[in-house]
Symmetry: C2
Subunit: 165 residues, 2 copies
């Protein structure tokens, strides 16, 4: 279903975008992040045509991000819940929310993600695994990894240019 | 240029996706993250048609994510660098890289983002601003924020369904 337009890009961002770059994927994941959702609820939330939503949900199941469960037999009705693979995308969702709140929420954040119980707001930190320092973009650099070496040089323009120079 | 298909969604993810959900935007930002890039370099890296790349770069400049600088006058040649607004997307890029590395890098990560100097790898942490706890998805909940109250109830299906129940 998704156009695989990034095939020439040996890059984990490009590969991740093949899966989550589809416009509605992250919104479906947003709606299923806290609990399973029924097809009808998702359809109402997203305002998508039923056949379009069906296709996208099926694709997310095929990619291992959602699991489908029959909750009613007559007529058959399904609900969708997130797998661990989908839950591992929560830092992406959380970072997108923080950025959208900062630049595109003139009336204040539409929703607030909080620490359950404590009620504190969420901070996103990049931390160095080795020395424990909290990092900003200025502290980062990129190096070719093992996956870059396994591809032919002519096929890795993305990997080549992203290297820090 | 971008289809504004999320207009009915009062949600910072939806608003952020209006800007960065366009398929090539995050790849352009990836390529400019460490230093300014010339048009020719971006075109070679991304393999996009020149007119398509021109349109997208212009759009990113209009949205305040890139700044254009003339580096040669005859013939005119431009390079593009990231603004603070774009740099604030680095947590999104870093989280996408981590996820892509985990699930879509069978030969290992194509590139490694490291702490400059120290060489340590990068960990993404969600931290509670109030109590300092390191959080997982299980520790989060969502509440309507001030931006949700300012919109009419009938126009906020996304904000409504994302509420934790």
């Amino acid at each position: 279903m998704l156009e695989r337009t990034y095939d020439g890009q040996v890059c984990s961002i490009a590969r991740a975008l093949e899966v989550v770059g589809e416009r509605w994927t992250l919104l479906i994941l947003r709606d299923t992040v806290f609990r399973p959702r029924r097809f009808e609820d998702l359809q109402r939330s997203l305002g998508l045509a039923r056949n379009v939503l069906t296709t996208r949900l099926q694709w997310l199941c095929d990619e291992g991000l959602l699991e489908r469960r029959l909750y009613q037999e007559h007529p058959p009705r399904y609900e969708y819940s997130q797998t661990e693979k989908a839950k591992d995308l929560i830092p992406v969702l959380a970072a997108l929310i923080a950025w959208g709140d900062k630049y595109y929420a003139p009336n204040g954040p539409p929703s607030l993600i909080r620490h359950r119980g404590c009620g504190g707001s969420i901070i996103h930190r990049l931390v160095c695994e080795r020395c424990g320092a909290v990092l900003t973009s200025e502290d980062l650099e990129s190096q070719p990894g093992p996956g870059a070496r396994s591809a032919a040089a002519g096929e890795t323009p993305g990997a080549a240019i992203v290297r820090h120079g």
